[in-house]
């Protein structure tokens, strides 16, 4: 069995995994991490996400709760009527100057938020946000501005863009336009010229992003006829689209995307008792005659805003309850409004189709930057006498002007010092990290040394026990040797004893033989004696002496 799979097969498998698994599997190895974080993979994973059936019924709902001021992003399963909540993710950021961030718009599950001149991109799929660099058009540089922002996705370059159309306070001056590109990570002023005689009908609600362009609801200042102004994110060109004749010249128009088509929401609040909203859809993009009315939402004093179309044909709306504002579902047939249990700040709700997206994964993590406190200028005016008042006022004005110019200089110096401090911080941070890193490395080495010490100790102990064992064995050995020697000695003694006993037995047997011979001789001697006696009686002395001689010689022979 081969454990090695070629890279293109591993990529195929990774493409089929949900975002949560991919974030976790970045940890598997460095090569998997680099596979997952390439822009090419992020883009192709998004393309697949779009085509997955499991994603086509998901909605993401943004709602803002007060005290504490937290933004919530809820993932909703819209496949049936139950509007089930799959997940709730909080934005890990709070606005510093206003209570909630303002939403610019959303695209492909990525959200763009801002407060004053601080812009943020937030991806709830991977729970990551980045702060954009400072824009080119600022109050400091250009004076007071009224700004219309927009956010969209350009599929031709796989780029997300934030657009700002800034009108200076002087009416006559044309607006300045800049765009931020995520791929470039920078703001650039555009040379595009905003069409003359056009004003925005809607300044705050998200501009519809479709087909690589953002669409604004505008009106012709001469005849008040409503129009759609599109800004193409690719070639950065403004285009005007007219609306059909039956369109109404209400001032309250919002652009949106419904069912993949550009749509307009005409808020009709001419009559307080009878507010409603007509939803129109442009079935064929660019064809004016293809505008068709989808339906009208009757507000019925409950509803304050229209958000999105649900899969089952209902409309998601912002509705007012006795104590709160809530996301609700409006049934166009019955005109019944059903509460969905998601409360929040009015006009801060937003609903969009959700798709899992890895975008921002390859961007560096955001470091929260510190901002200088803003100062408040105070002016003093004193008055004493009428004539002197004026003179003094004049003097004071002159002084104030002088102070103002000095103050501006000081501000500049302070800004410079701030940037220097930032730079120093930037230098210090890596040093700190290096020290920490070294500290950790030292700790690791210490731990290793300690381990080695304990191992050494154990080994010396082992050696000591082994030595004592060897000693024991040596004494045992010497004892054995001694025993063996003793045994040997005993054995020798035994053999000697054996020999002696053998000798004794042989001697014994010899003695016995001698005894038998002796007894025989004795019997012989007796016989001879007997015979000799007989002979004595007969023969006389000769034979007895002969017999005596014979017996004595026999005795001598013995």
């Amino acid at each position: 069995m081969s454990d090695y799979l070629p890279e293109e097969v591993v990529l195929e498998i990774l493409h089929r995994l949900p975002v949560k698994s991919l974030i976790r599997f970045r940890c598997v190895s460095k090569s998997w991490n680099s596979l997952i974080t390439t822009p090419a993979f992020i883009n192709s994973h998004l393309t697949r996400s779009h085509s997955l059936l499991s994603n086509s019924n998901k909605l993401i709902v943004r709602h803002c709760l007060d005290k504490p001021y937290v933004e919530h992003y809820k993932l909703i399963d819209d496949s049936n009527d139950s509007f089930d909540q799959i997940q709730n993710i909080e934005l890990p950021l709070t606005s510093r100057r206003i209570q909630h961030f303002r939403l610019i718009g959303s695209a492909n599950g990525l959200f763009s938020l801002f407060e004053q001149e601080r812009f943020i991109l937030w991806n709830p799929s991977i729970r990551k946000f980045i702060t954009l660099p400072k824009p080119c058009i600022t109050v400091k540089a250009h004076g007071r501005l009224t700004c219309r922002p927009a956010f969209g996705f350009d599929p031709r370059t796989n780029d997300y863009k934030v657009v700002r159309i800034a009108f200076p306070s002087e009416e006559a001056k044309p607006p300045l336009i800049e765009a931020y590109s995520l791929n470039e990570d920078s703001w650039k002023l555009t040379s595009a010229s905003f069409p003359l005689g056009i004003g925005f009908s809607d300044w705050h609600r998200p501009a519809a992003s479709l087909g690589g362009a953002v669409h604004f609801a505008v009106y012709d200042k001469d005849n008040h006829s409503p129009l759609i102004l599109s800004f193409d994110l690719g070639d950065e060109v403004f285009r005007l689209m007219s609306l059909p004749n039956c369109a109404f010249s209400w001032s309250n128009i919002q652009t949106s995307v419904i069912g993949g088509s550009l749509s307009l929401l005409f808020y009709d609040d001419r009559f307080v008792a009878n507010k409603c909203c007509a939803i129109w859809v442009m079935k064929e993009y660019g064809v004016v005659d293809s505008w068709t009315k989808l339906l009208t939402v009757d507000f019925n004093k409950e509803i304050i805003g229209v958000l999105c179309l649900q899969k089952n044909g209902n409309i998601l709306v912002e509705a007012k309850l006795p104590s709160d504002w809530e996301l609700s579902s409006y049934d166009p047939k019955s005109q019944h409004v059903k509460s969905l249990g998601i409360c929040g700040r009015p006009h801060y709700f937003h609903v969009d189709n959700f798709v899992e997206n890895l975008v921002l994964l390859d961007k560096p993590n955001d470091a929260v930057s510190k901002r200088g406190a803003c100062r408040k200028r105070k002016c003093r005016l004193t008055s004493n006498k009428e004539i002197c008042q004026l003179q003094e006022a004049k003097h004071l004005l002159q002084e104030i002007l002088q102070h103002a110019s000095v103050y501006e200089l000081q501000l500049d110096i302070i800004h410079q010092q701030q940037t220097i401090i930032h730079q120093q911080e930037a230098i210090l941070l890596p040093l700190q990290e290096a020290i920490l890193h070294d500290g950790r490395a030292l700790q690791l080495q210490e731990a290793l040394l300690y381990e080695l010490e304990t191992i050494l100790q154990q080994q010396t102990e082992k050696i000591a026990t082994l030595i004592s064992q060897i000693e024991i064995m040596e004494t045992a050995e010497s004892k054995l040797v001694f025993l063996i020697q003793r045994l040997k000695g005993q054995a020798e003694v035994e053999t000697m004893l054996q020999q002696k006993t053998e000798k004794m037995t042989s001697l014994k047997s010899q003695l016995e033989k001698m005894d038998t011979i002796k007894s025989k001789l004795v019997s012989l001697i007796q016989q001879f004696k007997g015979q000799a006696g007989e002979m004595f009686s007969g023969v006389g002395d000769q034979s007895s002496t002969q017999v005596q001689q014979r017996s004595s010689s026999a005795g001598q022979e013995m």
């Binding site: 799979l5 195929e12 949900p18 949560k20 698994s21």
Partner: protein, 184 residues
């Protein structure tokens, strides 16, 4: 494999091919199924061009990188796919076939050990069997989707080249991604 249809026309490929696996087992396969293995198809077309052997029936195509058990599974999966040369079924027949295939697929996956998936994917990649790759890649993705990092390393035989403190830092930062993971 014959389909019931209004105008039965002779199936252009009752021809069979023989495939030989790494353990020297021979598999006789219908041309229609074997052609789904693009590597085999390429080999066959090369053979035809070079005019070396007679059509199909005597050629034995060697597959030295594929084991017999794996090839058996791939062939049986290939048989269940809609055949490119089959007469088009009406909608009903298509639906029933789809259901049958789904049932077969579920049964196949149930009896498969996770380790076998790797072999099947390797073999399908070698054979350039697109539908098989698609199916088994998805099955493997579904299998590992909720598994832990250690399981995945062990499964693919991947060595962890991260320092312990790097890994620790990452796990802390993205703690939410490590929740609710299957026990190993």
């Amino acid at each position: 494999m014959s389909n019931t249809s209004e105008n039965p026309k002779p199936s252009s490929s009752s021809a069979k091919m023989t495939l030989k696996t790494s353990d020297n087992e021979l598999f006789e396969v219908e041309e229609a199924v074997a052609m789904k293995f693009c590597t085999v198809k390429q080999y066959f077309e090369d053979e035809k061009d070079s005019d070396v052997a007679a059509r199909g029936s005597t050629t034995v195509i060697p597959l030295p990188n594929v084991h017999s058990a794996v090839l058996a599974t791939l062939i049986s999966y290939g048989k269940k796919l809609p055949q490119s040369n089959a007469v088009a079924d009406n909608h009903e027949e298509e639906e029933t076939k789809k259901k049958e295939r789904k049932k077969y697929e579920q049964g196949l996956l149930k009896n498969l050990m996770p380790g076998e998936l790797l072999d099947l994917i390797s073999a399908a990649n070698y054979l350039d069997f697109k539908e098989g790759l698609e199916f088994f890649n998805q099955a493997l993705a579904d299998h590992i989707q909720n598994k832990s990092v250690e399981y995945v390393r062990k499964f693919f035989g991947i060595k962890n080249d991260y320092e312990p403190h790097e890994e620790e830092k990452y796990r802390e930062e993205y703690a939410w991604a490590f929740e609710g993971v299957d026990e190993d």
